[in-house]
Symmetry: C2
Subunit: 146 residues, 2 copies
């Protein structure tokens, strides 16, 4: 799936979810959708555009009328993404093995002196910065509980 967030945003709207439900059942034209959902055709057209750009719909012209179909492949792709998400396992925290600096954490009383946190204790107290990926255990393990 190209852009999961765009697909989710597209589907996370009451009107658009109703449109998807309707189009899964029948091949409604834009006017029919507008009548059923009691909105203007312009509003429906704009919603259809959002869904189309998220690859959730494919449109087909039939004479004067545009008929839209749900791309069921994309729906299934979304389900797969969620299944992958739900399958993420909890990683157990092993402070000692991973070098979590429990002791240094206790030393952090920087604000008393009004000074900047010295590098020696900054990491232990405030955890890794975005660019420090090595130690992932500050802030989420039991170090805090001591």
């Amino acid at each position: 799936m190209k852009n999961t967030i765009a697909v989710l945003k597209a589907i996370a709207d009451d009107t658009r979810l109703k449109i998807i439900r309707l189009l899964l059942q029948h091949n409604y034209c834009v006017g029919a959708l507008a009548r059923r959902l009691e909105l203007t055709e312009a509003a429906i057209s704009q919603h259809l555009k959002v869904l189309r750009e998220a690859d959730l719909l494919v449109g087909e012209r039939r004479g004067h009328f545009m008929h839209y179909d749900v791309d069921r492949k994309q729906l299934r792709a979304l389900i797969s993404e969620f299944e992958e998400l739900a399958a993420i396992q909890r990683e157990g925290c092993q402070p000692k093995k991973e070098g979590c600096m429990q002791k240094k954490r206790e030393k952090c009383r920087v604000h008393e002196s009004g000074k900047e946190c010295p590098e020696e204790v900054r990491f232990a107290c405030h955890g890794p910065r975005a660019d420090e990926k090595e130690n992932l255990h500050n802030g989420h393990c039991n170090c805090h509980e001591s």
Copy 2:
């Protein structure tokens, strides 16, 4: 699931989806999430509130720290909702059997006279109003193609 749209809206945000991914792996406190996502704790706290109110998270206080957990039941419930959606079958349109008024449709030239659409042809031309659920075939079948 109580409110599918609220759950979808909660999850359909880049930052919040990242929070969910992180919390599925580890028990991060709010500050740790803020550091990793390079946002203020206030911003994270507000996102956590959205997720909490969608029942996607449960929080637990540990001393000074709040630790949040993803409610995996809710994730699975969301997957079920999507599977139900994807399982909706296309209903074939049977105009004759269902009394679709193909003939009357052709008579609709109301706008020529500048008059209101007479009730006799209104339904056929413009389809059922929201309160007319009996005939679901105007606007989505091949009637238009004739």
